[in-house]
Symmetry: C2
Subunit: 444 residues, 2 copies
């Protein structure tokens, strides 16, 4: 058996501590499986004195991540600090340049600098593993980078943010508002004090950017991802979706089209019968459509110290096993440039909820605007409301009133351009009392 | 780039032909990803002259698989013939002994001889990859052998036979009998002319045996798997399950218990809300419960030429990438002996359907027999029947008749021993008109 693999660990939060614990607990099993023992030789974290419930007395303490990352006593640098620049970026660059393997859970860093970092790893003949960066404990990176190598992939999509899925599940099951559910999520530790990054879709976008590169062999390009969060969703939308046979999920979707690759993160209507619709609470799921394999779906916990640590340790075992694979599945020089498909060219069905002023001619005008854009309607649900979308259906017999009525339209496949134009004109026509709600439907 | 990896392929059925096609189609991509080109240099199959729609003119033809497997012009032997002995076994042994890597889809061979073959691979420093042997295109072997290395696994279970799941899904959706659905499955090519191997659970058992070894680090032990097929299931059972909030699936389950490992294949009641209950038609799914990661579920096509070929080619890319991993996740010498937990000690809830002669005292007697075995009942559904279990509920007010009544019991957790004893006594008491139906409920 070779010399033990020496690990330098930066970041001792819940994930870091769980990694230390698992490595100690499974020491023999992992050495047997990989043929090489592993040992944490060096650590760094914000506070040196905090009691973390793990014995770090045998590890050298570093105050500076870069010094740790380049220490002679470190073979693999495990970066669990987070952040897309600063210490995380500097130390990962330093480690790779110094010929150290890197294992990281840092999606933000990779979404921003992944192409360069992968190149740096390649040039220095070292591994850069990041299973924990996407969907926590689900081995989706391995599945895409290795298990589906022989597939021409047409789409990858998933629920990759537990906070959002928790909120949407609660809204659906209990009829609570977004704000109420967010507060509960914060209380339970599922959402940050500042939840923007999660609920506006940025976190999902970082993960999607990595999956897109693996799926299509393209350079990582996170900046051009179309982004729409879940904050505008109301219980009316959730209920209307339910009645129409859908659920609403925050999906990240990367899709190959004739004009390039669509990358988008937005609330999405998915058929209740689909595998992805079944994913509730903080669970994550990723589905990949390949030409050979059809559709593969993986689900499991997307966050949590132990689940994420499980992915980090698996990455370490791959290093111990000397599984040399290009970080992005192929050499960076062979990655295709990312060609963005314009969002306006996106094709799909749409859910539209309008708050219509109940005046003669309003519906005719709306229908006319849709028709002008060649948009066909699959269903129209009109309900008398008192501010609320209710299950009571007064049908068309109710007489016109001053109060706006909720009208839900489901369109057949059309383009984003057509929908936006139709909605713009409908707003200008003055028949609606509030900004229209529009949710994309994903074909599954 | 190194010399091309030379592949010798035995078996040119749908999977073999799809492998040849994909390798040709993705030649450059695969070479880029793995750093090594691959080329089929030798083939063998039953008939040399058959037109298979692929160009094999550049390959050497062998009449004998053993000669092909040991040919100097072969680095990797790809065995796609099937069969747990004979040519498949001999050629795989010969290849490994000759220092060739082996990629195979042959679950029967591995279930029977996997321990020895893994040892042979290890002794000769070569790889033995078998992703395609379990759940077709789903990379579950890679997930368990690599992605979940750092988990202490407590259970693995899944739907691993598309034929059975197709039949059960049709029975459920259309209320058809087992025989009708089987005939349709045969007509559509989802079931063999002799379906025994699928519908009696043997095929699932072979796959389960491999997953058990990977999950628990134990020697493969297929012979001691408890086996019960789906042929005795009736539409009554399917309907009763539905009304009680369950679906019936043929599951393979491996579970660690205090007394050893349970390996069992049987029709199983699963809650409708569970991920596994959503798997319909020929789709497969495998779930793994690990201490770090919680539960991971993977679903996708479990069979079909292209899906299976996808797994074979991924295995080949792993060989090209030189991903040396012990075939069973650790050295054969380090595998623990398989200790079988007795099926009689199995603990769980049970669904019992009895055809009760409607005589005074019959129900009291049945309830008494259950109580004697300390079995508590979670629910009792009694229905007037005319041979059929119907949705009409006549309640207890109907007067006693000669016709037997269907009674469905759901028990709280008990043991297999207690249930069998209770059912034996109930049968002996003479109050029932047919052999009781008993279906195990899986906690999910």
């Amino acid at each position: 058996m070779s010399n033990p693999l020496k690990l330098g660990l930066a970041g001792l939060g819940t994930v870091g501590v769980s990694v230390v614990k698992r490595l100690a607990q499974l020491e023999n099993e992992l050495a047997t499986a990989s043929g090489r023992a592993m040992r944490v030789t060096a650590v760094t974290a914000r506070s040196r004195d905090k009691d973390r419930g793990v014995d770090l007395s045998a590890c050298e303490w570093f105050d500076d991540p870069v010094s740790l990352a380049t220490s002679e006593d470190v073979d693999v640098y495990v970066e669990l600090m987070g952040g897309d620049s600063g210490a995380a970026e500097e130390s990962v660059r330093a480690a790779l340049a110094a010929g150290k393997h890197v294992v990281t859970a840092n999606k933000a860093l990779l979404a921003k600098h992944g192409n360069e970092l992968a190149k740096l790893a390649e040039d220095n003949g070292v591994m850069l593993n990041f299973e924990a960066a996407v969907a926590g404990g689900i081995p989706i990176i391995k599945t895409m980078r290795e298990g589906m190598t022989s597939n021409d992939i047409s789409r990858v999509y998933g629920i990759m943010n537990g906070t959002c899925n928790y909120i949407l599940t609660r809204m659906e099951l209990e009829g609570l508002s977004f704000d109420e559910c967010l507060k509960d999520a914060q209380r339970l530790g599922y959402a940050e004090a500042d939840p923007t990054f999660d609920v506006e879709g940025n976190d999902t976008a970082h993960k999607l950017a990595l999956l897109t590169s693996l799926a299509f062999g393209t350079e990582i390009e996170a900046d051009s991802i179309f982004l729409e969060g879940i904050t505008s969703l109301t219980t009316d939308d959730i209920r209307a979706a339910d009645e129409l046979g859908f659920r609403i999920k925050l999906l990240g979707v990367a899709l190959r089209t004739d004009t390039g690759i669509e990358q988008r993160v937005h609330p999405t209507m998915v058929p209740k019968s689909s595998a992805i619709a079944q994913i509730s609470g903080v669970t994550n799921a990723v589905a990949v459509d390949g030409d050979a394999v059809g559709s593969i779906t993986m689900s499991g916990p997307g966050a949590g110290g132990d689940a994420t640590a499980s992915a980090v340790v698996a990455d370490l075992v791959d290093v111990a096993r000397d599984f040399k694979v290009y970080p992005l599945g192929r050499p960076v020089g062979e990655l295709k440039p990312y060609v963005r498909a314009k969002m306006r060219a996106h094709e799909g069905g749409y859910y539209i909820r309008l708050s219509v002023n109940d005046r003669p001619g309003a519906f005719a005008s709306i229908a006319h605007r849709m028709a002008e854009q060649d948009i066909s309607l699959e269903s129209i649900v009109q309900r008398r409301t008192n501010g609320h979308f209710t299950k009571t259906d007064d049908g068309g017999s109710a007489k016109a009133s001053e109060k706006p009525q909720a009208v839900v339209l489901i369109t057949y496949e059309t383009t984003e351009k057509a929908i936006r134009m139709a909605l713009k004109q409908i707003e200008e026509d003055g028949h609606i009392a509030a900004t229209p709600q529009m949710i994309r439907i994903e074909r599954l």
